[in-house]
């Protein structure tokens, strides 16, 4: 009995000690970066920029690929002597694909790391969570690839370098109706994702306007693993294709379930498909499917080819379209900083607003009055286990 008490006491003491140690360290680290440290509105030393991304979790490919590309952009700009003679320092925080974590990450980037500007997120729901914090604190944020219109509607501090869903939905609807000549399509959307709901809505409107018919509409929740009920319901609806505006993990599983149920129609989708894991999970079940994206590696401009080979040299893998947008987001941000008189959040914001005809990897980027980028989209076809260029659709 006595021995037990001693053991318990020892456990409590060691626990308290370890907690004190952890928090002590955190405070120590914090004060080093406190007033007088780098970042914020300071005019000397390093320029600190923050990146919040899903480095782990269900959409880890988005975060990891985007972060590699942002890192590449930072390394390139530092190799050229930095901005106004100052080195750029990148701080990346993980959101784990969770909206609460995204808001926390942005708060930490601003309060602890004192960043001048923020890049992130890929998923619209997370950009909405993080963007609200950035807007409230007056720190400019550039989302590389969130396509839901609501993201930049948060306020004058939130920008993006990609097209938005009213356009992306129209692209696929137009392609399905005019190129594939389909009349009946079913939709499966993710009801927990602002991106998926918005894209489904815009696709339905554009497709029915062009004389097509949506014969079935089903939904799932991010993280679901079983889609057989939804696909069974769609099977007898007469749909000639299924529009799945979701993220790659679930899309891959939906493709395999579709094949298991013997539904032989192609899937259609958006840029949320853009990750190598799509093929790892979906495999042969994806053959003949199409999705819209920001760029096609196999039909790239000279500028894009330079980026692709630099990325491959640095990381040993081919970048995704979302990675390319991460690179563009960073480069647009650097350009805005160069243009600004001094590097403060307010001048960076002005610089971003003034972005016109920037030659990016994913095309020419002009930030419009809604702080969105007007750009064309490409449609990719899945053939032989990879995505190949099919056509370009102008806005």
């Amino acid at each position: 009995m006595r021995r037990k008490t001693v053991v318990v006491a020892a456990a409590i003491v060691s626990l308290v000690a370890s907690l004190a140690f952890t928090f002590g360290c955190k405070n120590g680290g914090g004060s080093q970066n406190g007033p007088g440290g780098s970042g914020g509105g300071n005019q000397t030393g390093e320029i600190v920029i923050g990146h919040y991304a899903s480095m782990t979790g269900d959409t880890a490919h988005f975060g990891q690929d985007t972060d590699k590309a942002v890192r590449l952009a930072v390394e390139e700009v530092n190799a050229q002597g930095g901005i106004k003679g100052r080195r750029v320092k990148l701080v990346t925080l993980d959101t784990r694909g969770d909206a609460t974590e995204a808001a926390n990450a942005v708060t930490r980037l601003i309060d602890v790391e004192h960043v001048s500007a923020i890049i992130g997120e890929v998923a619209s729901t997370l950009s909405l969570a993080g963007g609200r914090v950035a807007q409230r604190r007056g720190i400019p944020m550039v989302s590389p690839s969130s396509t839901n219109p609501a993201v930049t509607a948060i306020g004058n501090n939130v920008f993006r370098v990609c097209f938005i869903d009213p356009f992306q939905g129209t692209v696929m609807a137009k392609f399905a109706r005019e190129n594939l000549r389909l009349t009946k399509v079913a939709i499966i959307k993710d009801v927990r994702s602002d991106y998926s709901i918005g894209l489904a809505e815009n696709f339905r409107r554009a497709f029915t306007q062009r004389g097509g018919q949506v014969v079935a509409e089903q939904s799932y929740s991010a993280g679901d693993t079983d889609f057989s009920a939804q696909l069974t319901a769609i099977r007898d609806s007469g749909a000639e294709a299924i529009f799945v505006p979701g993220y790659y993990g679930e899309v891959g599983a939906i493709a395999v379930t579709k094949q298991r149920l013997g539904i032989n129609v192609p899937l259609l989708g958006g840029d949320g498909w853009d990750a190598p894991d799509l093929f790892r999970i979906g495999g042969a079940a994806l053959e003949g499917s199409f999705y819209s994206n920001h760029f096609a590696p196999d039909a790239a401009s000279d500028r894009a080819r330079r980026f692709i080979s630099a990325f491959q040299r640095r990381f040993g893998s081919e970048p995704t379209g979302l990675g390319a947008l991460g690179y563009d987001a960073a480069m647009v941000l650097f350009e805005a900083m160069r243009r600004a008189q001094s590097v403060t959040p307010a001048t960076i914001r002005e610089g971003l607003t003034a972005t016109r005809n920037f030659e990016g990897v994913t095309g020419r980027i002009t930030i419009n009055a809604q702080r969105d980028a007007d750009k064309s989209a490409v449609v990719l076809r899945i053939r032989g286990g990879r995505a190949v260029y099919e056509t370009t659709v102008q806005p």
């Binding site: 782990t56 979790g57 269900d58 880890a60 784990r96 009801v191 089903q218 939904s219 799932y220 929740s221 679901d224 693993t225 079983d226 057989s228 009920a229 939804q230 069974t232 319901a233 099977r235 007898d236 993990g249 891959g252 599983a253 395999v256 298991r260 149920l261 013997g262 894991d277 790892r280 999970i281």
Partner: protein, 305 residues
């Protein structure tokens, strides 16, 4: 009509996975009157053990050259995962529950939640939180009968689940260990007075329940394609509801409860809305607790005062 049959088939295969997990909850409850919340993590770990055994046997090589994984290798994966999970279950009991054998009933229950959180975070740390594609240890073949599609994986899930449940039934009814388990579930102290080595019987209960959960974990991976460290949370909770539905402590009840939950979930998703697929399980839980708290096959035992 074909749609209904299809939904029922998919529901039964999902339900048999729930049933395999539910058996572990119900066996431990029957013997110790403890709800082992760490069981859902044993299921998750079992699935990962199977994953790494298959990778260790070179499944990626077989997949890359387009060859079928040998069937006896699939059995090796199953046995290895079941053995690993059994060891894990016994260890959990030894370290976390045995020291609390005579403590108030709330203490081991809270410990079980602690073990569950510990294992889940440990798995997140070791296996990374990223979902993994489960290797195809059985090559998929599709059969179509009058518009209803059945794959050999769905059949294998049913066959493996039924075989394991039949084996368990025999074990509990015909062997000495099974008789001892039943004795423990009636009265642990009386069983000890009759010369039963209760600790050994409890260990074997944990071993068997955990092994069945690991089998469920592999079938889950095959059926649902991806696994991740948090996969046990919702699936485990549903299996727990299945055990309550069938009558906790009752082995055939857990099997029936699992199948019912699987079918209910699938029909709700197909005919009502997929948004309610998780909700229906807990609606059933509330209903059963209100109207038949002892469960479908449970018996009311008067509480001794």
């Amino acid at each position: 009509m074909t749609e209904l049959v299809q939904q029922l088939i998919n529901g039964l295969s999902l339900g048999s996975i729930y049933a395999l997990i539910a058996l572990g909850y119900t066996m431990v409850y029957g013997v110790l009157k403890l709800i082992n919340f760490a069981h859902s993590e044993v299921f998750m770990m079992g699935s990962y053990f199977g994953f790494f055994t298959a990778v260790g046997l070179g499944i990626e090589h077989y997949e890359s050259i387009g060859q079928t994984f040998p069937l006896y290798y699939a059995f090796v994966v199953l046995i290895a995962a079941m053995a690993g999970a059994a060891l894990l279950g016994v260890t959990i009991e030894l370290l976390a529950y045995r020291p609390l054998r005579n403590a108030p009933r709330l203490a081991p229950l809270i410990t079980a939640i602690g073990v569950s959180l510990f294992l889940q975070n440990l798995a997140t740390l070791i296996f990374t939180p990223n979902p993994r594609r489960y290797p195809a240890i059985i090559r998929e073949v599709r059969y179509e009968l009058g518009g209803v599609v059945v794959t050999n994986i769905k059949i294998a899930i049913l066959v493996v689940a039924i075989a394991l449940m039949a084996g368990l039934h025999l074990l509990v009814q015909k062997t000495w260990t099974g008789k001892a388990m039943r004795a423990l579930s009636v009265n642990l102290d009386a069983a000890r007075l009759m010369g039963v080595n209760t600790n050994r019987v409890i260990s074997s209960t944990f071993a068997i329940g955990s092994a069945l959960a690991a089998a469920g974990g592999i079938l889950f991976g095959l059926d649902q394609l991806t696994i991740k460290p948090t996969m046990g949370v919702l699936t485990g909770l549903k299996a727990f509801v299945a055990a309550v539905l069938g009558g906790i402590g009752n082995i055939p009840g857990a099997a029936v409860g699992g199948l019912l939950i699987g079918v209910a979930e699938q029909l709700t998703a197909g005919y009502l809305s997929p948004d309610y697929r998780d909700a229906i399980t807990f609606v059933i839980l509330i209903g059963i607790l209100l109207f038949k708290p002892e469960g479908l096959l449970g018996v009311v035992r008067p509480e001794k005062v």
